[in-house]
């Protein structure tokens, strides 16, 4: 397949469990595709060069920077955004609940990226050490919280997850 520079291509992917599609050119960043083409504005864009982590989403379950990926590359894959983290009926996930309980957010702009990152972190490592928590969130910038309550939230989320019925 070759797409011309201005050519639009119908890009299909599964987003939060639902098949979605929209026409977009090859250069459309996944972050912009989610936000502007699909209207899922919960994924935020803070730097567009992969440093801040605000745009982190789950690609086939793995956290990735959606500003460093073209939507067309993600075609056919499964994406989870912050809008897809809550449970049935909109109940907050343990990670989301922990951030609320521990005041792990202030302005809320970086929060979706942290939530996606931490959701995958605790899935892969349900009982992280303090160092593993820091390493796990080390690629996400927050300018409001000084990270104190974010780190606390991750530990609390691990507790809440451990209490969940499996």
């Amino acid at each position: 397949m070759r797409l011309g520079p201005a050519e639009h291509h119908e890009i299909e992917m599964t987003v939060n469990g639902t098949p979605r599609s929209a026409p977009a050119p090859a250069r459309r960043l996944l972050s912009d595709f989610l936000r502007h083409d699909l209207g899922l504005t919960g994924t935020h864009v803070g730097c567009e060069h992969g440093v801040c982590g605000c745009c982190t989403v789950l690609l086939d379950g793995e956290p990735v920077r959606s500003c460093l990926m073209f939507a067309v590359t993600a075609a056919g894959h499964s994406i989870t955004t912050v809008e897809g983290l809550a449970g049935a009926g909109g109940a907050l996930s343990p990670v989301q609940r922990a951030f609320q309980e521990c005041h792990g957010l202030q302005c809320g702009f970086c929060t979706p990226g942290f939530l996606c990152t931490v959701t995958a972190l605790l899935r892969d490592n349900p009982r992280p050490t303090d160092d593993e928590v820091l390493e796990g969130v080390s690629g996400n910038l927050c300018r409001c919280t000084g990270y104190q309550n974010i780190v606390k939230s991750v530990r609390r989320a691990a507790e809440l997850l451990a209490e969940e019925p499996t």
Partner: protein, 295 residues
């Protein structure tokens, strides 16, 4: 900060990718993990006419570990290689270096071969490949060649890859017995490009005395720098066991042979001193490990 327009290819076979690259010629660029390329595109510091996205070529998503070494395919992500106990067993420097590559989320997407092809002299993997005398397997529509690390990195962000070529894999040779390794770098923030960094191997003889010592540096020149420190290490050892070697002296020897450039984060003088300190620390750790690996 939006990327400029480009024509886009999404081949699902190596042959189709090589054909697309051949056709694109000078204007072609390979997109693998995109963790270095896409920022450049978003800042419009690069504007390739044709982008060949190899992410659908699953045949390139390989990691082969043999007694001789680790072969990493062009689509193997950092995180996959980092998590592989088999790869770490044969070549521990891979995991040790990868743990220092940016952040976990970046490593989920970035590829080992992509990092080599990007040829950033501040990056970890080029220094490791250079230190180990590894190779890069290169294919084009018309042929294939194996490029030794020493010839692969030609300048800052410049490799020996020619238009139409694709680096399909990289080979990191295994260690000889009784060889210890270590990786040390210092960055301003955790996960940043290092101010200076070093990967080392220390080989011991049967009496656990140093037989070889080599260091590969990042962040101190336009390309990775490899220094053979065997001579000074032998001199500093003065016949004692490796554990008692005066590694500070070897670090100083190495620093005197490095000529780093200054940038906004560190002066040349600091970088040189730092490289010496890191060399000392890495050699000491590697020598200790080499001794343990014998038992």
């Amino acid at each position: 900060m939006k990327p400029p327009a480009f024509a886009y290819h999404a081949p699902d076979t190596l042959g189709a990718a090589l054909a697309a690259l051949a056709e694109a010629g000078d204007g072609g660029k390979v997109l693998a993990g995109g963790q270095s390329l896409v920022p450049l595109l978003n800042m419009r510091l690069a504007a390739p006419a044709e982008l060949v996205d190899i992410n659908r070529i699953t045949a390139l998503d390989t990691l082969e570990v043999t007694a001789g070494g680790v072969r990493v395919g062009a689509l193997a992500r950092h995180s996959r290689v980092e998590r592989s106990d088999a790869a770490a067993g044969v070549q521990p420097l891979l995991r040790r270096a990868l743990e220092n590559v940016a952040h976990p989320v970046i490593r989920n997407r970035g590829t080992v071969v992509g990092s080599l092809a990007h040829a950033d002299p501040a990056a970890e993997l080029p220094a490791v490949l250079a230190l180990l005398d590894g190779t890069v397997e290169v294919r084009s529509a018309t042929g294939r060649r194996t490029v030794p690390a020493g010839a692969f990195f030609t300048g800052p962000l410049e490799s020996a890859l020619l238009p139409g070529e694709l680096a399909v894999s990289a080979f990191f040779p295994a260690l000889p017995p009784r060889t210890g390794t270590a990786f040390r770098e210092l960055s301003r923030r955790h996960g940043d490009y290092a101010l200076a960094g070093v990967a080392v191997t220390v080989g011991l003889d049967e009496d656990l005395r140093v037989a070889t010592a080599r260091a590969g540096y990042l962040g101190v020149a336009a390309t990775p720098v490899v220094l053979d420190l065997t001579g000074p290490a032998l001199a500093a050892q003065e016949g004692r066991p490796a554990g008692e070697c005066d590694w500070a002296e070897v670090g100083g020897y190495a620093a005197a042979r490095l000529d780093p450039e200054p940038d906004i984060h560190a002066s040349a003088e600091y970088r040189r001193t730092l490289a010496g300190v890191l060399t000392e620390r890495a050699l000491r750790a590697a020598a200790a490990e080499g001794g343990r690996s014998d038992s």
